[in-house]
Amino acid sequence: MMRIKIILLIFLAIFLTISGFQLYQHRHYQLPIVAGPGVTRVVKLSHYLPALQGTMADTWVFFLEGKEQGGKVLILGNTHANEPEGMLATLVMIENGQVDRGTVIIIPQFNHSASRATRPGDGYPLFFEIPTGWGKKKFRMGNREASPLDQWPDPDVYIHYPERQLLSFLDARNVNRTWPGRPNGLPMEQVTYAAMELIRQEKVDLVIDIHGAETMFPVTNCIVAPEKSAKLATMVSLTVKAMEKFDNHVEPSPPKFRGLSHREIGDYSEAMPFLLEAPIPFLDQPTGPKTEKLLLDGRDPFLLRLARKNKLFVPYDETGWPIEKRVGQHLSVTLEILRQYSRRSPERSIILHHVPRYAEVVEKGVGFYFTDPSTVPPDRIYFN
């Protein structure tokens, strides 16, 4: 019997080593972020709340400052780290954008802890790669919520602060439910509090939170805006439809659903928030295997069948929803928000150049806009 026990323990050790090593590699992989010529200053989010210093929740904040004073915009990617189009759009801006007037502040991996978690039960790939002119750039595929290694245990019910609305227990680790946060709360509440402090201290005018949503979810392919941002969002939606030929309707931010960026940022600061959604078929439930290919090209035969039965909320055909379309949409909508705001408030205008729009990204691919980190001075590379 002792021999059987030893054999079983050896099997357990082999199983733990193989699976554990992959998960360890995923959690500790460092993504090189190239600070482009427009980046003038880089700080950590803990600059605005020192309690975050040294934790997995801390993350880089990139400043692109113009020579002329103007307005300020904060752009967030990877609020949900399993919606990578937000992170990719912000990285394209960090590597290529140059500001003439005003300030663009970018946090490419807002929920840094979630970018180091995964869903093995859902068969998520641990990494995905974007082809570029110099090889493939490798990214961690994250999760919607922060890693339980960084915030655990979960409560039975998450009680939102300060509105005291009862939310799902999982939302305690979801930074799009913990706004406006509190300095002495759960780590994810501290993350959103630090961002609120950034918004207040830097006097940010606009906040753009970039996401992806299922094709079977009604709030997809849209700009979610509260009352104070609705007019601007409507102008943006009409303009991109007319000029760039893609749909991006406006969804009102529900006033009684608390904790979301598009609700709380508007209510707890002077800034105008916008939340952008692009369809990401990978997140839909009735798809084939959750592969890297599905994540990048968005093509799935089961969704195609559902589209033919009018069960989806977006147009869907054999071309799927490739990552280029999703990132391109986000970049165009972001640029259009800045343009419309600058027209409306010339004294607070923000002029951002060298960021590609929808048609260019669809034509050239996302990888075209990434620089080979080996060709850049080490002090221009930030590992996240």
Partner: protein, 52 residues
């Protein structure tokens, strides 16, 4: 406060893992029970090692 709760959960997990392993070690006859004890150990070990 949050850190104290988190640390206490790690201590609880370590205690449960030790108990499960102790039961595995004491099992003298049934191999299926031994396998079940080890399966129960997997998530506890991964959490205690801060891997998953």
């Amino acid at each position: 406060m949050f850190k104290i709760i988190m640390i206490s959960y790690y201590l609880i997990s370590a205690f449960i893992a030790a108990m499960v392993f102790w039961n595995f070690w004491l099992e003298k006859k049934k191999v299926d029970r031994m396998i079940l004890y080890l399966l129960v150990l997997v998530p506890l070990i991964l959490r205690l090692l801060r891997i998953k």
